[in-house]
């Protein structure tokens, strides 16, 4: 499906940028972003050594992942220096603790970058797939941080790596219908709480890929905001594409043999995603008058080396277009739902965005699905 946030007629004029900004009273703008990671970062070799992994095939998967470091929270060593895998109960506890810690930090950084206080927060949408919590993360954070008890909230649980954009779509709709009220999407993934160890390549691939990370993005619609040093992009439109044939290609489900949740990634999935990337981007741009070559900034989920390659080839992108996608993968691994926001934050730090420029945000995950959003600075 596609969703237009901009009111009717607005997208008709998107080829005449800058001058139309004042005519977008309800298209929400991205007014802040923040990220956080867990305390300790490990090189791939350090992770292999920590678990005493010697299988050359598994080591090769880790060392050829285009990941240099990831933030992880590993189980403590016992008296013999062995790190025994944690039980599912321990993993759930770890998820809760890490999610609260990283989530609070990302939210604080995001609000600070938006020039806002916790008290300004009117709606909070939390996203996680690496653990199950009831009450949800939004409720726990409201209590932990002392956020106003009347803050609206939602929790998106279990949608996977793409979920940051699903949440952004929902939250942008909320922001559009509540001009002047601050809404935040908070993606929190404690990937250290979602591993399973055995001798299969299935777990080796998963264990080589993911890292802990949280990212928050703040949305605000309406006029009256002070001009900022950097232009703030408006969120114009969303487009989605689910590939039901590949429903089993990415899944996080119960492994009866291990007595825990285990993530599965079909080796074909990078190609399946690549093959559908054009369809969804064409749909996103359809009716906007924009060509793919009009998109100056691409913020693609750092899903893994192969999926980035497949998206680059099928969308005709350059290595430069995905420099942040690749950089985030190198420095953090796949931090799941918040990855694209790590890239967005790096893009802002470069200071290269100019008013009138367009960007496409793109995430992919279980379903299998590709989610996209069109933004304009």
């Amino acid at each position: 499906m596609t969703t237009d946030i901009a009111p009717p007629g607005v997208l008709d004029g998107v080829r005449a940028p800058a001058t139309r900004r004042s005519q977008l009273p309800t298209a929400p703008r991205i007014v802040g972003v923040g990220t956080a990671v867990s305390a300790t970062s490990y090189s791939q070799r350090e992770v292999l050594d920590a678990f005493g992994i010697t299988d050359p095939k598994v080591r090769s998967v880790f060392l050829n992942s285009a990941i240099e470091r990831r933030n992880l929270t590993l189980p403590a060593e016992d008296a013999h220096g062995v790190r025994a895998p944690e039980s599912q109960g321990d993993l759930l506890d770890k998820h809760k603790a890490l999610a609260l810690e990283m989530g609070a930090e990302a939210l604080r950084v995001c609000l600070k970058s938006a020039g806002a206080e916790l008290a300004d927060l009117r709606h909070l949408c939390c996203v996680t797939s690496t653990g199950f919590l009831t009450p949800g993360l939004s409720a726990l954070l409201i209590r932990e941080l002392g956020i106003d008890r009347h803050c609206g909230r939602a929790d998106i649980v279990g949608m996977g790596c793409n979920a940051g954009l699903n949440a952004l779509s929902v939250e942008a709709g909320w922001a559009a219908s509540h001009p002047g009220e601050l809404a935040v999407v908070l993606c929190v993934e404690a990937c250290s709480a979602a591993y399973a160890m055995d001798s299969t390549m299935r777990t080796a691939v998963v264990n080589s890929l993911f890292g802990d990370g949280a990212a928050a993005v703040a949305l605000l619609a309406g006029e009256g905001r002070e001009p900022t040093a950097q232009p703030e992009p408006a969120v114009l439109k969303f487009a989605s594409c689910i590939i039901p044939d590949a429903v089993d290609a990415m899944r996080y489900d119960w492994d009866r043999a291990q007595g825990r949740f285990s993530f599965f990634l079909d080796p074909q999935i990078p190609y399946v995603v690549g093959a559908h990337a054009e369809i969804v981007v064409d749909r996103l741009l359809d009716g906007t008058g924009l060509r793919r070559s009009d998109i100056r900034h691409w913020l693609v989920h750092s899903g893994g080396k192969k999926v980035i390659d497949a998206v680059v080839v099928n969308l005709g992108l350059t290595r430069h277009d995905v420099r942040h996608t690749v950089g985030v993968l190198r420095d953090h691994g796949n931090v799941s739902s918040g990855s694209f926001l790590f890239s967005y934050e790096r893009l802002l730090e470069e200071g290269v965005t100019r008013p009138g420029e367009y960007g496409v945000l793109m995430t992919m995950g279980p379903g299998s699905t590709i989610e996209t959003a069109l933004i304009r600075w």
């Binding site: 050829n64 990078p270 190609y271 070559s293 080396k305 390659d309 680059v312 005709g316």
Partner: protein, 222 residues
């Protein structure tokens, strides 16, 4: 063969917003969804006198961006040169996939005693011919004569009748998908700067793209 989309660029005129718009318009037409064909630029002329007067780096940025778009178009691109070619004429010539030149062509990079204006023409010359072989031109402004340009591979073909040669060159691209040309071109560009291991993933993704097309055709036929 589909009709050519053509732009004429005069390198003797200073770089201007008009030149940027001309290239951008050509790219727009090439990207319009009306089938494929060949996009061509006919270039001649080299700057003289105070050709940088009135320029600023913002305009140069826009020019380089427009050229880069031309260089990456989802269509085969052809350039035809005659006479002295410098400035915008040289820039656009070097960005094309197929480069045809009349025998009187001379490629001129800027020669200035006290300043440096490399432009990305210098970069493209190195990509095409290698640093050693274009060093004299880039450092000292030594003109590259047509025969030398051919020997360097900067020109693909010399022709007394560039129009006929252009038609023949365009036939090379006849029937090819512009989008697929763009993918192959990008793999080619990346090959010069990417390790084998880093390039492999993109090549496999391109293979998969082809294999899926075959599968889709089989499904459609059954």
């Amino acid at each position: 063969m589909k009709p050519l989309r053509t732009l004429e660029l005069d390198g003797s005129e200073p770089l201007s917003a008009t030149a940027v718009k001309a290239v951008t318009d050509l790219c727009d037409r090439a990207e319009d969804p009306h089938g494929h064909g060949v996009t061509s630029v006919h270039v001649t002329g080299a700057p003289h006198g105070d050709w940088t007067g009135g320029l600023d780096v913002t305009l140069v940025t826009k020019w380089e961006r427009a050229l880069r778009r031309l260089e990456r178009l989802p269509a085969a691109t052809l350039a035809v040169a005659r006479g002295d070619c410098g400035g915008t004429a040289l820039d656009a010539f070097l960005a094309a996939d197929l480069r045809v030149a009349a025998p009187d062509t001379r490629l001129l990079v800027p020669r200035d005693a006290t300043a440096t204006w490399p432009g990305m023409a210098g970069y493209r010359l190195v990509q095409l011919a290698g640093a050693a072989r274009v060093r004299g031109a880039v450092l000292f402004g030594r003109p590259i004569e047509a025969a030398e340009a051919l020997a360097l591979g900067v020109v693909d073909e010399l022709a007394d009748d560039p129009a006929a040669a252009a038609t023949a060159a365009a036939d090379l691209a006849d029937g090819l998908s512009g989008k697929e040309i763009a993918i192959r071109r990008q793999l080619l560009f990346d090959a010069a700067t990417t390790s084998f291991e880093d390039a492999l993933g993109a090549h496999l993704a391109a293979c998969d793209r082809t294999l899926r097309q075959g599968t889709e055709e089989e499904v459609a036929a059954s």
